[in-house]
Amino acid sequence: MIPTAFEYRRAGSVAEALSLLQEGGPEAKLLAGGHSLIPMMKQRLAEPGLLIDIGGLDELRGIQEDGGEIAIGAAMTHAEIAASDVLRAQAPIVAETAANIGDAQVRNRGTIGGSLAHADPGADLPAVMVALDATIALLGPNGERKVQAEDFFQDILTVDLAEDEIVTGVCFQACRSAAYAKLEQRASKFALVGVAAALSLDGGTCSSARVAVTGASSHAQRLSGVEGALAGASLPGGAADAASGAGDALDFVNEDLHGSEEYRRAMTAVFARRAIEAAAGRS
């Protein structure tokens, strides 16, 4: 499987990548880890005329914690995120989710920026970013723009990102009492249904919660019914009740050879319960 011919440029800086994007117009595409884009190019589902490689840019790298806020650069690989001491200690949900993406080779190449920009309906990190109320930082010709994760993911493979913008990173508040649970497709490990839950706990009582689902629907989104039911619930005992209506409340549910709509709705409730229980058990 040979992709259509294209021109390759390795950007030396984010500024250079931005100007190459402008020059290339609709023909241009950014290349990070390539683990979504190259398979699509081999199948000729994508035929960019210009690839701008941003995979190695130092400006897009790093994981920093400052006063409880954690920032991750867009070019950090899933393997680097999984191995980060800062994340393991202060936002273990992020490190654990990254550690369960695909396989070792995929994690060595795939990046968080690529995963969020691509927004595969079965991708894991989008749900985690929505649950953590993360801010996604974008840079374009007119400067920086910040978008909340829940507004960023809009539809299947569709995000709030203009053709001439780059995702530079994400940031979110440190949070220990959060967990992600997924029903994975056995071969690829993409989520048939994945739920991320981030809880504010007061002893055994949940004061507020953010819960998001991926895999079940066209894009990662909040489960507001579950969030409402969790406010004031005592945990872990109340998890099953709070999660019970999760799947039925979704407007649109995917259906494919891996799972029917009915199955995915049922599993959304099951994995919401598991994510909530795991998050509650962690504080």
């Binding site: 499987m1 040979i2 992709p3 259509t4 011919a5 294209f6 021109e7 390759y8 390795r10 290349l31 390539g34 683990h35 190259i38 398979p39 190019m41 081999k42 690839l51 490689d53 995979g55 393997a79 695909g102 396989d103 070792a104 080779q105 995929v106 060595n108 190449r109 071969a187 690829s188």
Partner: protein, 159 residues
């Protein structure tokens, strides 16, 4: 048509320079330009791991990387693993524990195992199975592969 691009990749300790089409995959550069046919193509769809090499020390499916992306990097293939006539402990482990049948998956399996033991020198059986989950073997049923990696881990711990 786009212009050929000059690349230089350090492959198994030797600098290799060439003019390549940007769309040339790393696996085809290794196999067809350099004749390093130990790296196999199984699925060509990023799933089987037969094409796994080390790119700057990390296991990578070379069917999912363009050769131009590896410009300036170091690549290690199965051909670069032995030290002269002395097999790498993983190669020895696969020999001793019968870690292969047809051998098609073996180079990729071994390169993945190199990365695994680098990150985790004493993996449990479950960790070994997770570590090679990006590599598919149609013959062995995996048990002998797991044994081979355990054998190598023990030998490497002793030396």
């Amino acid at each position: 048509m786009s212009e050929p691009v000059p690349i230089t990749i350090n492959v198994n300790g030797r600098k290799r320079s060439a003019m390549v089409e940007a769309r040339l995959l790393l696996v085809h550069f290794l196999r067809e330009s350099l004749n390093l046919t130990g790296t196999h193509v199984g699925c060509d769809t990023s799933q089987c791991g037969a094409c796994t090499v080390l790119l700057d020390g990390r296991s990578t499916k070379s069917c999912t990387v363009f050769a131009v992306q590896a410009d300036g990097s170091e690549v290690q293939t199965i051909e670069g693993l032995a030290d002269g006539d002395e097999l790498h402990p993983l190669q020895d482990g696969f020999w001793e524990e019968h870690g292969l049948q047809c051998g098609y998956c073996t180079p990729g399996m071994i390169m993945s195992a190199v990365n695994l033991l680098e990150d985790n020198p004493a993996p449990s059986e479950a960790e070994i199975r997770e570590g090679i989950s990006g590599n598919i073997c149609r013959c062995t049923g995996y048990q002998h592969i797991v044994n081979a990696i355990q054998h190598a881990a023990e030998r490497m711990a002793q030396s």
